[in-house]
C-alpha cells in the first residue's frame, strides 16, 4: 500500500511539473468547447440542447490526449522495467498509475465543466447532475484507455493508433453519460437508470482495465 501511494504521488508530481501534461487536457477541453459555437453558430437554444453532448465529447477527446504518456515516458527512462520487476503485483501498479492519471488529467476537466457549461447555456440547476455524470464516467475512460496505452507502449507507436483502438470501446460510456446528462437537464426519462449503468461501466472497467493492461505489458515487453 505504501509503495502504491508513493507511486501515485510520484506520477502526480511528474504530471504537474515541467514537461508533464496535467493541465494540457483541460486547456484542450476549453478550446474544443470554444470552437463549437464557431462551427454551429451562437444560437443559445441550440447550444443548450446539445451542450451535454459537446461537453461529454470534449471530455472524451481531452482524456485521450495525455494517455500515450501514461507508460511511454516510464518505458523510455527504464522505470517501467523496475515497476514490472518489483514485488507489488503489476495489476495494482498499473491501477495506481491510472488513478494518478485520472486525478491529474480528468479531474481538472470535471472541475472546469461548470464554467464551460455556463458558456454553452446549460441550465444551472442541472449542472450538478452533469458534473456527477462526468465524475462517474471519466474513470471508465481512463481505465479503458489504460488498456490501449499498455498495448501501444510495447509497439513504440502511440498517438493515433491509441485513439483508433480506444475510441470504439468507449462508445457505451459516451451513450450512457450523455443520456444521463440529458435526462437530468431536459427529462422526461429518469436520471437513475443511465446513471447507474454509467457507474457499472466504470466499476467494470476498473476490474477489466488493470488486468488487461498488465497482461499487455507482460506479453508486450517480455
Amino acid at each position: 500500500m505504501n509503495a502504491l501511494s508513493a507511486l501515485m504521488l510520484r506520477d502526480m508530481r511528474i504530471a504537474v511539473r515541467i514537461g508533464g501534461g496535467a493541465l494540457m487536457g483541460a486547456l484542450f477541453f476549453l478550446i474544443v468547447v470554444v470552437m463549437v459555437p464557431f462551427a454551429i453558430g451562437p444560437d443559445l437554444r441550440l447550444l443548450a440542447q446539445i451542450g451535454p453532448a459537446i461537453l461529454w465529447l470534449g471530455a472524451l477527446l481531452a482524456s485521450l490526449l495525455a494517455l500515450d504518456r501514461l507508460f511511454a515516458t516510464d518505458h523510455e527512462d527504464g522505470s517501467l522495467d523496475l515497476l514490472m520487476m518489483g514485488r507489488v503485483p503489476l495489476e495494482l501498479v498499473v491501477a495506481a498509475k491510472a488513478v494518478a492519471h485520472w486525478l491529474t488529467t480528468c479531474l481538472p476537466l470535471v472541475i472546469i465543466t461548470p464554467l464551460l457549461g455556463l458558456m454553452l447555456n446549460v441550465e444551472m440547476n442541472a449542472m450538478g447532475a452533469l458534473i456527477l455524470t462526468l465524475l462517474a464516467g471519466t474513470p471508465a475512460l481512463t481505465f479503458i484507455g489504460l488498456i490501449g496505452a499498455a498495448l501501444t507502449v510495447a509497439l513504440r507507436r502511440g498517438g493515433l493508433l491509441l485513439a483508433v483502438l480506444v475510441l470504439p470501446l468507449t462508445i457505451p460510456v459516451l451513450i450512457f453519460g450523455v443520456s444521463a446528462a440529458n435526462a437530468a437537464i431536459a427529462g422526461p426519462a429518469p436520471f437513475g437508470p443511465p446513471f447507474t449503468i454509467l457507474c457499472a461501466l466504470s466499476l467494470m472497467s476498473f476490474v477489466v482495465g488493470p488486468v488487461a493492461a498488465a497482461a499487455a505489458l507482460r506479453y508486450g515487453l517480455e
Binding site: I147, L169, S179, L201, Y219
Partner: protein, 243 residues
C-alpha cells in the same frame, strides 16, 4: 490428428493442401444451389424483389460476428496455450471478418434505401455493426504497426479479448439508445417467423457463406505461414550477405 499436432506448420500446410480443394468445391456447389434457390424464392408481398438482398445480408452479418468469436478463441490459443498457429489464425481472421462486416453494412444500406427510404440511419443494429467494423480495423491497424509479428499478435490477442467483453455491452447500449431495425425473426421462441420458401434458401446461403469464410481463412493462414517463411529466409540471406 490432435490440435497439438498442427503446431508443426509443415504438417498444417499439408493438411490445408489436402482439404482446401474439397472445401472450395463444396462451397461453390452450395453457392450455386443457394443462389438458384434464392433467385427463385418468392418476392415479399410488401418489399418485392428487394427482399432478396437478405440472402447476402443476413449470412454476412452472422459471419462478421463469428469472425470476432474465432479471433477471441485464437486469442486464448495465443495467450493461454501458446499454440504457434493461433496467432496466425487470429491474424488471418481479422481482414476476413472485417470484409463480411463491410458486406453486411453495404448490402444493408442498399436494402435500406428502397424500404426505409434512406441509405443510413443511426439505428442500434447498424451502429453496432459499424462499431464492430471499427474494432476490426483497430485490430488490423495493431497488426500493421507491430514490427515484431509475435509482439503484434499478442497485443492484438488482448485487444480481441477486451473487444469480446465489450461487444455485447456496445450492442445492448446502442439497442437501448435508438432502434429501427426489425427484431430477431429466425432464432426466437415460438419458431421462425419466416416462411419455409425463404428460410431454406437463407439457411443454404448461410452454410455457403460459412464454408466460404473457412475456405478463405485456411488460405489466408497458409499465405501467412508462407509469408513468415519468406521473411525468415530474407533475414537469413541478409545476415549471410553481411557476414
Amino acid at each position: 490428428m490432435a490440435v497439438i499436432d498442427l503446431a508443426n506448420p509443415t504438417r498444417f500446410l499439408r493438411l490445408v493442401d489436402r482439404v482446401l480443394p474439397w472445401l472450395i468445391a463444396v462451397t461453390a456447389v452450395l453457392f450455386v444451389v443457394g443462389l438458384y434457390r434464392a433467385v427463385n424464392a418468392p418476392d415479399d408481398y410488401q418489399q418485392g424483389a428487394t427482399v432478396k438482398i437478405m440472402f447476402l445480408h443476413v449470412p454476412a452479418a452472422w459471419l462478421g460476428m463469428m469472425g470476432w468469436g474465432l479471433m477471441s478463441v485464437a486469442a486464448l490459443g495465443t495467450l493461454v496455450w501458446r499454440h504457434p498457429l493461433a496467432d496466425v489464425a487470429g491474424k488471418a481472421a481479422a481482414p476476413i471478418g472485417a470484409a463480411f462486416t463491410l458486406i453486411c453494412l453495404v448490402t444493408g444500406s442498399l436494402w435500406g434505401r428502397p424500404t426505409w427510404g434512406t441509405y443510413w440511419v443511426w439505428d442500434a443494429r447498424l451502429t453496432s455493426m459499424l462499431v464492430l467494423l471499427l474494432l476490426y480495423l483497430g485490430v488490423m491497424a495493431l497488426y500493421w504497426t507491430a514490427e515484431d509479428p509475435g509482439r503484434g499478435s499478442r497485443a492484438a490477442a488482448i485487444l480481441a479479448l477486451v473487444g469480446a467483453v465489450n461487444l455485447p455491452i456496445i450492442k445492448f447500449s446502442v439497442d437501448w439508445w435508438n432502434t429501427l431495425h426489425q427484431p430477431a425473426s429466425i432464432m426466437r421462441t415460438g419458431g421462425s417467423a419466416i416462411d419455409a420458401s425463404i428460410l431454406w434458401p437463407l439457411l443454404i446461403m448461410a452454410l455457403a457463406f460459412t464454408l466460404l469464410f473457412f475456405t478463405l481463412h485456411l488460405a489466408a493462414m497458409r499465405n501467412e505461414i508462407l509469408r513468415r517463411r519468406v521473411r525468415t529466409m530474407q533475414l537469413m540471406q541478409a545476415q549471410e550477405a553481411h557476414a
